[in-house]
Amino acid sequence: MSNADQYDAIVVGSGAGGGMATWALARAGLRVALVEAGPWYDPADEAQRTQFRYPWESPRRGASTRLRPFGDFNACIGGWELDGEPFTTADDTDFMWWRARMLGGRTNHWGRISLRFGPLDFKRREIDGLGDNWPIGYEDLKPWYDKVDKLVGVFGTNEGLPNDPDGFFLPPPKPRLHELYYIRGARRAGIPVYPSRLSILTKRINRERGVCVYCRQCSRACGLHADFSSSTVLIYPAVATGRVDVYSNTMARKVDTGADGRATGVSCIDRENRRELRLNGRTVVLAASACSSARILLNSISAQHASGLGNSSGHVGRYLHDSTGASRAAFLPELMDRDIYNEDGVGGMHVYTPWWLENAQLDFARGYHLEIGGGMNMPSYGFGFAANQYKRFLGERVGGYGNGLRDDVRRFYGSRLSIACRGESVPQYSNYCELDPNVVDEWGIPVLRFHYRWTGQEINQARHMQDTMEELLEAAGGILLGGKPGPERQYGLTRPGEIIHEVGTTRMGDDPATSVTNRFGQLHDADNVFVADAGTFVSQADKNPTWTILALAWRTSEHIVEQMRQRNL
């Protein structure tokens, strides 16, 4: 079956990159087909709403399931495992891969942490001799970051930091009480702390979207559209132009190419009726997520592209890398028996610590930032577990039964302070995904096989994270909880893929022998195919990738429009 329409662009994937491409291309007057493997989604639709639900509205009180690994009220449809869509790993690999199957993709539940990469983040090889430089620098991307700030909205503060650039920020919320304790600890430890930077509207930016009502539930997606989701901010306005056809529940199989090696369209499968669907397009923009876009390219085999589209260099799937992570928590006796009031705040931390040290004096190459957790969270499954365990710090007996437990629960409610670190890893050629020749998914599409191992750089970084977290938590007045993980557990380093910042599989570069796309995300091997997700990242900074995905996707889209104007496409 073939759709007779000829689209100016077929965008595959509706997350941050695909949403931005769809919006920017449709706004420029192009006819766009948006292909999304999951269903249409709008958190304002009562049938899909999980925001403002009480735990008793779920029979499992919000507990996680295999179908909702981040909890029963989390907005993301998808997870670590998808029925009928496996992936495999090489023997020595422990890789996790989160895939969303819904309009807006993973932007429906992400942490909204919106950090620009800084000047140093594009030129790491120059600094430490490891990995590679990006072909572009901060000055190339700055105008696009500026535009993203104003279009999408992000709160934060201009601090004039050398590698954490200022922006067009909305004002941040005031710190919560546990965050004041963190600030106190950071000041004592001599470690900087600033208001966080999240794409949540603390102030109105237009008449279409709402303003934050401080429910702390961004991970459930916002019915007021007061935070950034690709669907609410980009796709609905794009669809409103009348120039976008959304193909939901439609999975891209491969990019079709003609005798000249250029793309002619995308072969898909309609997941609801299992019918093949072919879309014809003048250009193709892949934004299915770094690994899924690599998979589509590797599966797009033709006479002209025998090893997969865009893969003449053999670099599709290579340099896959995720952020590092480690976390720790403490009990703050000063937060016992606290006043109880509504302290939900925004859906995430109000304060954070960006990387503050010089790696030249350390035994690892790249930095990390610190995210702060705690407060009087809404009870859900797990609340009340080990309810009075902190009594051991007070010399009292842990355990028991009866109404005294109620006093314990109230006494320790909100007395926990936690820190999560997110760091930069060094991209490796030897960390990659490829097609598994022996396994297909239920649509007959060959699946990915992952090869990934951390190096000493990441392990040493995790050790430093643990020391920092201990220092800060104790300086804040905390009593450390749990043990400090040592070398036998790689210092608590998270598994590759676990932070869900996987990037690098179709990296950009000026040399077609060592990169997949040029500096505009355009394939070296087919000039009408573009990548608009984090696959093009040469290196993932110690920042979260979304803001850079948005800036790059907008830049790529404008490039497409410009090239079409010049009749080059």
């Binding site: 779920s58 029979p59 919000g62 004002p171 005031k174 208001p195 102030k203 109880i340 007996r397 437990l405």
Partner: protein, 237 residues
């Protein structure tokens, strides 16, 4: 079996022994009425079809025997009794919740089933009958031995572990209900305009907002004015 009929069955099988075994001995404030309608019949919070199907299967599944359910109810009632203004475990529908969550989380099945069996075996050896069929005094005597994790007697460890698990499930089940929210005093999950920690709380903790920090924070009286900036990235609205 559909959910409603399963619920009716549970209700009828539990009411009689509970009325005799629980309410009369611990002075259950609800006079023996166990809330078997704590879980809503229909869910409307953005479920996918796969999730609906999964929940239908869970509700239809029978895992616990009558005896096991009664024992769970007795334990929940001991852990969080109903003689309290905010109600106890039985008022909050704990047995129904525990039944569901154990079926939902495969790794809980064996510890709960095995724990009940251990408890019965221990009760029989100590008092000649299983846990649900000994006196309240005898039950509490056993609980006093297994409710404290610092007890080192190796023979009691399985019971201690099981009691800790039941305490966790009971408290989490209770504090995720309206009764539990009331008991905790939870104030959130409502639309509001948050504007910082209350002054009296700051004072109580000897905290204050640093003036230079506060200066950067949102002025909530201007939240509805559309943002604009000058060319130097300064907010001008």
């Amino acid at each position: 079996m559909n959910k409603t009929s399963r619920r009716e069955t549970l209700k009828s099988l539990l009411l009689a022994p509970l009325a005799a075994g629980v309410a009369s001995t611990t002075g259950c404030a609800t006079g023996g009425a166990v809330n078997w309608n704590a879980l809503p019949l229909e869910y409307s919070y953005g479920r996918t079809e796969a999730e609906r199907q999964r929940d239908r299967e869970l509700f239809a599944e029978t895992y616990f025997s009558e005896h096991e359910l009664v024992t769970i109810a007795v334990l929940c009632d001991i852990i969080l009794p109903s003689d309290h203004p905010n109600g106890g475990a039985l008022d909050a529908g704990l047995p129904e919740f525990v039944e569901f969550i154990v079926k939902d989380r495969e790794n809980l099945k064996l510890p709960v089933r095995g724990g009940i069996a251990w408890l019965d075996s221990y009760a029989i050896s100590e008092f000649g009958a299983d846990f649900a069929n000994i006196s309240e005094t005898q039950r509490l005597a056993i609980c006093d031995r297994i409710a404290w994790p610092d007890v080192e007697d190796p023979a009691l460890q399985p019971g201690i572990r099981f009691f800790s698990l039941m305490r966790d499930l009971t408290l989490t089940g209770y504090y995720t209900t309206e009764q539990g929210f009331r008991d905790l005093g939870y104030q959130g999950n409502v639309a509001n305009v948050w504007d910082g920690v209350p002054e009296q709380t700051l004072q109580r903790h000897g905290m204050r907002y640093e003036p230079e920090w506060l200066e950067k924070c949102v002025d909530q009286s201007r939240r509805d004015i559309i943002a604009s900036w000058d060319d130097d990235m300064n907010l001008t609205s």
